[in-house]
C-alpha cells in the first residue's frame, strides 16, 4: 500500500496542482471572511457608535480607514459590512444557481414544450437589462435584505439555465448518452447522474463571477437607497453616504469602494482558478 501510494503520489500532485489564481483568490477571501468574523477582536470600535467629536478624521494609526461624518470608524464598518455583503451575495446566488441548472438541464434534454417554456421565460427576462429589472422589483417590493434576495433570484437564474442547456444539448447525442439510453436508464438518471456532472463545471466557474455581479448589485441598491437599511454598514450604503463628503473626507466613500473591488477581485481569481483546475482535470 505504501509503495503504491508512493508511486502514484508524484503524478497525481502534478495533475491537481492548485492554480495560482485559485490560491490567491481563496487566500484573499479567507482573509476577508476571517477579518469579518474576528472584527470584534480586530478593532475596539463599535460599527454603530457615533462620536461627533471625531467627524471625518483622515486615516491614521487610531482609525486606519479614517472616520465618517458620524465619527464612526470606517475600517470597523468595512469589516462588519463584509459579513452583510458576502452573506447577501452567497445567499442570493444559491437559488438562481440550483434552479437555473435544473431548468437548463431539463430544457436541454427534453426539448419540445419544456424547452420552449424555459427558453421563452429566459427571453422575457433577458429582454430587460439585469440591473433595471432588479431595481424595478426591489422598488416594487420595498427595500430590505429579503427583497434583494427575491429580486436577484427572479432575474439571475437565466444565465445558469442557458449555460447548462447548451452543455446538455451538445452532450445529449454523444455516444455515451446513446449507450445509456440503449441500456434503458431512466431520463432522470441520465440527466442527473451523467449529463449534469459534465455540464456543471462551466456553471460553477460562472458562479464565482456571478457573485461579483451580485455584490455590485447589492451595493448599487444600497447606494440608491433601495438596499439594506441605514445605518447598517453595508458597503454600497457607506459609499452613498460618504459621497457627499468626497472633497472633505474621501476615505468615507473610497474605503468601502476598495472593499467592493477587493471582494470582486477575490471571486474573479477564484473563478479563473477554478476554471483552470477543471480544464486540467477535464484533459
Amino acid at each position: 500500500m505504501t509503495t503504491l501510494a508512493g508511486e502514484l503520489a508524484p503524478p497525481r500532485a502534478a495533475r491537481t496542482r492548485v492554480p495560482l489564481g485559485l490560491a490567491a483568490g481563496a487566500a484573499m477571501l479567507v482573509a476577508l471572511l476571517g477579518g469579518s468574523a474576528l472584527a470584534p477582536v480586530l478593532t475596539s470600535y463599535d460599527p454603530y457608535a457615533q462620536n461627533l467629536n471625531a467627524m471625518l478624521l483622515p486615516p491614521s494609526a487610531a482609525h486606519w480607514f479614517g472616520t465618517d461624518n458620524y465619527g464612526r470608524d470606517v475600517f470597523t464598518r468595512v469589516l462588519y459590512g463584509a459579513a452583510i455583503d458576502l452573506r447577501i451575495a452567497v445567499l442570493a446566488v444559491v437559488f438562481p444557481f440550483v434552479f437555473g441548472v435544473v431548468a437548463g438541464a431539463v430544457a436541454g434534454y427534453l426539448g419540445g414544450w419544456a424547452d420552449a417554456a424555459v427558453m421563452r421565460a429566459v427571453d422575457v427576462i433577458t429582454a430587460v437589462p439585469f440591473m433595471v429589472l432588479v431595481i424595478a422589483i426591489v422598488a416594487f417590493l420595498g427595500p430590505g435584505e429579503l427583497n434583494i434576495l427575491v429580486a436577484i433570484g427572479v432575474v439571475d437564474w437565466i444565465v445558469f439555465a442557458r449555460l447548462v442547456r447548451g452543455e446538455v444539448l451538445r452532450d445529449k447525442n454523444l455516444e455515451y448518452v446513446t449507450a445509456l439510453r440503449a441500456l434503458g436508464f431512466s431520463r432522470a438518471r441520465i440527466v442527473l447522474r451523467h449529463l449534469l456532472p459534465n455540464a456543471l463545471p462551466p456553471a460553477a466557474v460562472f458562479l464565482a463571477s456571478d457573485i461579483v455581479l451580485v455584490i455590485l448589485t447589492t451595493s448599487t441598491l444600497g447606494f440608491l437607497g433601495l438596499g439594506v437599511r441605514p445605518p447598517a454598514p453595508e458597503w454600497g450604503l457607506m459609499i452613498s453616504e460618504g459621497r457627499t463628503f468626497i472633497y472633505t473626507g474621501w476615505w468615507a466613500a473610497a474605503m468601502p469602494g476598495f472593499a467592493c473591488m477587493y471582494a470582486g477581485i477575490a471571486f474573479i481569481l477564484l473563478g479563473d482558478g477554478l476554471a483552470d483546475l477543471l480544464r486540467v482535470r477535464g484533459q
Binding site: Y70, P230, T244, Y247
Partner: protein, 506 residues
C-alpha cells in the same frame, strides 16, 4: 457643418451684442442650479418650495413680504386702507401693471384670482377663511369684506397662494393650464419647461418696473446631486446654486471666485411624532424623547455648527417668537425619569420613516437613533421614496418622521394653525388635538391688539413645548453659493429668490 456652426456663432454674438438687456460686458442669461425640480406652478394647490420659488418669479401678489420677512411692501397694490371696524379692506392697484401678454392687470383679475384661492380646496384655504366677499369697485380698486376683524389678514393676502392671475386666460381653462402654462405680471415669464430638467424664463417686457429684470433670460436648472451642483458652479456652467451642503461650506469658501451665503431663513427643522398611537400618544414619553435629543450635537452633525438649536416651534424670524424660551435642553437624567413616569415599558422600538437619499433628514434621523439608544428606545430607519412617504405621512401611517417647515409670512398664525389645528392639517400630520390649544389659536386669529396677541402666541409656544407633539431640532440658514461675477442676487427670508436686479459679468 462649418457653415452651421458659424451661423450659430454669429447669432450667438448678435444676441450677446443686441439682446434686450445685453449691456456690454454682461451675460444675457442667468443660469441657476437647484436641488429640487418644480413640477406644478399652480399657486393655489401647491405647497412644495421648488414650485413656490419658481412661480414667484412669474406671479405678483397684492402685497409682498419684505426681504427680511418681517413686514410688507406694495406689489400689485400701490396702497391699501382698512375701515375703522377692521372689516373692509380696500386695495388700490397700480394702473401701469400689465400681464406678460401686454394686457392691463385689473381689479377684476384680482377678484377672480382671490375668489379661486378662496373656493378651491387646497393646503392654503385657511388663508382666506375670514373673507366674506371680494369685489372690484372699479378697474383698479379691489374691496374685500371680512366676516370679522382678522389680525393676520395682510399677511394672508401676501401669501403666494393669493397670487394674481389673468382671469381672461384662465377663467375657462383646464386646471392643468395654470399648472403647466402659467401667465402672470411678475418680472419673468415662462417660455420653455422641460420637466425634471430645466425651466426657461424670459424677461417680461411689460413688467411695470422699468429696466427690470436686468438680465433677459433666467434658466432654473435641476441638478439634484450636491457634488454635481457644486462642480457646475465651479466650472462656470451655472452662475449660482442653492443648497450647497453645510459640510461643504468651508471648502467652497476657500474658492476666491465664489460668494458663499448663509441667508437668514424662516425655516425650522423638526421631528414629527404620530401621537395617535402608543407609545407616542403618551405625553411623558414624548417629553422624555425631547429631553434625550441633543440639539447641540445635531447642529454639529447635520449643520456643521451653522444652525441655531431650536427652542420653540416657531422659526427665529417669526413675529412674537419668544426669545426667552429655553425649550428642551439636553438632559438624559430627566429623560430617564420622565420615561419611568410615563409607564412605557422599555425596550421600545420605533420606526422612523425616511425619504430615501434625503441628506440632512437622514443624518438627523441617524443621530437620533444614537441619542435615543441609551434611553432604551431603538429607532429603526425605514427609507421610502418621496411620494410613498408623503402619502403615509398624510394618512398618519408612520411613527417618527424628520421634516421641516419654512414660514411664508411673518405672522405666526400660518404655522401655528398648520401645526396645532387638527382641522387644517391634522396638526402637521401628527394627529395632535387639544381643546386648550384650539381656544388659543382662535384667540390669536381674532385679537387685534398686538400686545395681547403677543401674549397669546407666547402661551401657544409654552403649551406646544409642554405637549411636545413634535421635537424641534434647529433653525437652518439658507445656503447659497454664487459666482462673484453675479450681482444683485437676493434671497428673501421666506425663501424665494429675487432675480430682477441680477446681472452677471461676462
Amino acid at each position: 457643418m462649418r457653415a452651421v456652426i458659424s451661423f450659430v456663432v454669429a447669432v450667438g454674438l448678435a444676441l450677446t451684442l443686441f439682446g434686450p438687456a445685453g449691456a456690454a460686458g454682461y451675460k444675457t442669461v442667468v443660469q441657476f442650479g437647484v436641488n429640487r425640480a418644480a413640477d406644478n406652478l399652480d399657486p393655489v394647490t401647491q405647497d412644495a418650495n421648488p414650485n413656490i420659488w419658481a412661480f414667484m418669479q412669474i406671479y405678483q401678489q397684492l402685497v409682498r413680504v419684505n426681504v427680511k420677512g418681517d413686514g410688507f411692501v406694495p406689489d400689485l397694490a400701490q396702497r391699501w386702507t382698512v375701515s375703522p371696524n377692521g372689516k373692509t379692506w380696500t386695495f388700490y392697484l397700480r394702473p401701469d401693471a400689465k400681464w406678460s401678454t401686454g394686457d392691463p392687470v385689473t381689479a377684476a383679475d384680482a377678484a377672480w384670482s382671490l375668489q379661486r384661492a378662496h373656493d378651491l380646496d387646497g393646503p392654503w384655504k385657511w388663508a382666506l377663511e375670514a373673507v366674506q366677499s371680494i369685489a372690484a369697485a372699479d378697474d383698479h380698486t379691489l374691496v374685500i369684506t371680512l366676516k370679522e376683524p382678522w389680525a393676520p389678514f395682510l399677511s394672508d393676502v401676501s401669501l403666494f397662494s393669493n397670487s394674481i392671475l389673468p382671469a381672461k386666460i384662465f377663467r375657462d381653462a383646464k386646471p392643468e393650464d395654470i399648472s403647466n402654462k402659467p401667465v402672470g405680471s411678475g418680472p419673468f415669464m415662462l417660455t420653455e419647461w422641460r420637466k425634471g430638467d430645466e425651466i426657461v424664463m424670459k424677461a417680461n417686457p411689460h413688467y411695470f418696473e422699468k429696466g427690470r429684470p436686468r438680465t433677459s433670460e433666467l434658466h432654473i436648472r435641476y441638478i439634484p446631486d450636491d457634488n454635481n451642483r457644486m462642480i457646475a458652479l465651479q466650472s462656470g456652467d451655472v452662475d449660482g446654486i442653492d443648497y450647497p451642503p453645510f459640510s461643504q461650506i468651508s471648502v467652497l469658501r476657500r474658492d476666491p471666485r465664489l460668494d458663499v451665503q448663509l441667508n437668514p431663513s424662516t425655516a425650522v427643522s423638526h421631528v414629527m411624532l404620530n401621537v395617535t398611537q402608543a407609545p407616542l400618544n403618551n405625553v411623558k414619553f414624548r417629553q422624555a424623547l425631547s429631553y434625550a435629543t441633543d440639539r447641540a450635537a445635531i447642529n454639529k452633525g447635520v449643520c456643521y455648527g451653522f444652525c441655531v438649536p431650536a427652542t420653540s416651534f416657531m422659526p427665529l424670524t417669526t413675529l412674537y417668537f419668544n426669545k426667552g424660551l429655553k425649550g428642551y435642553t439636553y438632559d438624559m437624567d430627566k429623560a430617564k425619569a420622565l420615561l419611568k413616569e410615563s409607564g412605557v415599558p422599555t425596550p421600545v422600538t420605533l420606526t422612523a420613516m425616511l425619504w430615501a437619499g434625503a441628506g440632512d433628514p437622514q443624518t438627523a434621523t441617524t443621530l437620533l437613533k444614537g441619542m435615543w439608544a441609551p434611553l432604551g428606545v431603538t429607532l429603526n430607519l425605514a427609507p421610502l421614496d418621496r411620494a410613498a412617504a408623503t402619502q403615509r405621512m398624510r394618512a398618519l401611517d408612520y411613527q417618527v418622521f424628520v421634516s421641516g417647515w419654512t414660514n411664508d409670512v411673518p405672522d405666526p398664525s400660518e404655522l401655528a394653525n398648520y401645526e396645532f389645528d387638527y382641522v387644517t392639517a391634522k396638526s402637521y400630520h401628527t394627529g395632535y388635538h387639544s381643546a386648550q390649544m384650539d381656544k388659543l389659536l382662535a384667540a390669536g386669529m381674532s385679537e387685534l391688539d398686538p400686545a395681547k396677541r403677543r401674549q397669546i402666541y407666547y402661551q401657544i409656544q409654552d403649551l406646544a413645548i409642554q405637549d411636545a407633539p413634535l421635537i424641534w431640532l434647529y433653525y437652518a440658514p439658507y445656503t447659497i453659493a454664487i459666482n462673484r461675477k453675479m450681482h444683485g442676487f437676493v434671497q428673501m427670508a421666506t425663501g424665494p429668490w429675487l432675480f430682477k436686479d441680477v446681472t452677471v459679468e461676462q
